[in-house]
């Protein structure tokens, strides 16, 4: 180990980014897309928005809980745990705010769709504008996450997630071609799931679980 003066900002970025190198967030995002596709398919089959919403919500809750449990079981024993400094905490808070804003925008957009007729918005306008809102929302929120969390591949995920809206609605409007939701979501989720799986396997190989500390070190974790 050579004595050198490390770039403290780079060291912090590298330490934090390592916690997103486990592939779990990638898998969470990819599976969320699959859950959305299930919801959209159920809406098509049963023509019931409430059933679709219930399925999507239940799937999202199960996925988020699984994500948290896996992080505790897989990541913490390998990488340990740390409390970030003030600047990183502000970045994390801003990211959560962006996610909340994105969720609220999504709910408002779908709410507007529900009452579009009453507002004098034509179905054709909805079919053009809703995918644009979806695309912009995905690009902005995942772009903010990529920037604030220093994980550049989230920019790419923003594009993939954002393309779902246009892929589902525009071919229908332009060419009368209806792409089934599981296919549209599945095609765009596949690269995210593949990257997530590859990263998870690499993570498990690269970072073994450390054995228990010797008693004399008095460093129980």
């Amino acid at each position: 180990m050579a004595t050198q003066l490390p770039d403290l900002k780079a060291l912090e970025r590298q330490a934090f980014a390592r916690f997103y190198d486990d592939g779990l967030f990638d898998l969470l995002l990819g599976l969320m897309m699959i859950a959305l596709s299930l919801g959209a398919a159920i809406q098509d089959w049963l023509d019931s928005e409430s059933a679709a919403f219930a399925v999507m919500l239940a799937a999202a809750v199960v996925l988020v809980i699984s994500f948290k449990v896996l992080r505790v079981r897989l990541v913490r024993p390998r990488l340990g745990d740390f409390k970030p400094g003030p600047e990183r905490r502000h970045r994390i808070a801003a990211t959560r705010l962006a996610l909340l804003g994105s969720f609220v925008l999504g709910v408002v957009a779908f709410g507007v769709v529900g009452v579009a007729g009453g507002l004098g918005i034509s179905p054709a306008a909805v079919e053009v504008l809703l995918p644009l809102v979806w695309f912009g929302n995905a690009i902005v929120v995942l772009g903010i996450m990529a920037y604030l969390l220093d994980v550049p591949r989230f920019y790419f995920y923003g594009v993939l997630f954002g393309l779902v809206g246009p892929l589902l609605m525009w071919p229908d409007v332009l060419w009368d071609v209806r792409i089934p939701p599981p296919l549209a979501f599945g095609i765009l989720a596949a690269p995210i799931l593949a990257i997530g799986t590859w990263k998870l396997v690499r993570f498990l190989k690269t970072y073994p679980v450390h054995g228990a500390p010797e008693p004399e070190t008095n460093l129980g974790d």
């Binding site: 403290l8 900002k9 060291l11 340990g80 450390h210 010797e214 129980g220 974790d221």
Partner: protein, 115 residues
């Protein structure tokens, strides 16, 4: 307790080794420098985190932590998460200041050297 103080800081008139450039030798040791810098960029961390970040063994990490804690550069807090014992380690304000001083001193010492 003269020895620990003498070990920690060497004045410019001290003879030999790192003392010639007047840096804090406690921090100047590579493993301890790695521990200090990794703790500097976070608020606190557990021992597994430091083990992963520095590449040290449990034994090495433990012995360096004891030295840094004795110097007042870091504090350790032992607690339980469920039934698991956990040690949380953080730099003290003294440790943060000492690392910044060390950095400044080393830059000053290297400044006259041209490539």
């Amino acid at each position: 307790m003269g020895l620990p103080n003498r070990r920690r800081t060497l004045a410019t008139d001290d003879r030999g080794g790192a003392g010639q450039v007047g840096v804090d030798r406690l921090i100047h040791e590579p493993a301890r420098l790695a521990i200090m810098t990794n703790l500097f960029v976070v608020e606190s961390a557990n021992a597994t985190y430091l083990l992963q970040q520095t590449g040290l063994t449990w034994g090495n990490l433990g012995s360096h932590l004891v030295k840094l804690e004795a110097a007042g550069y870091l504090s350790t807090n032992k607690s339980f998460r469920g039934k698991q014992p956990q040690t949380t380690i953080a730099l003290t304000p003294v440790g943060r200041a000492a690392l910044l001083v060390y950095r400044r001193q080393l830059f000053a010492a290297l400044d006259p050297i041209s490539e």
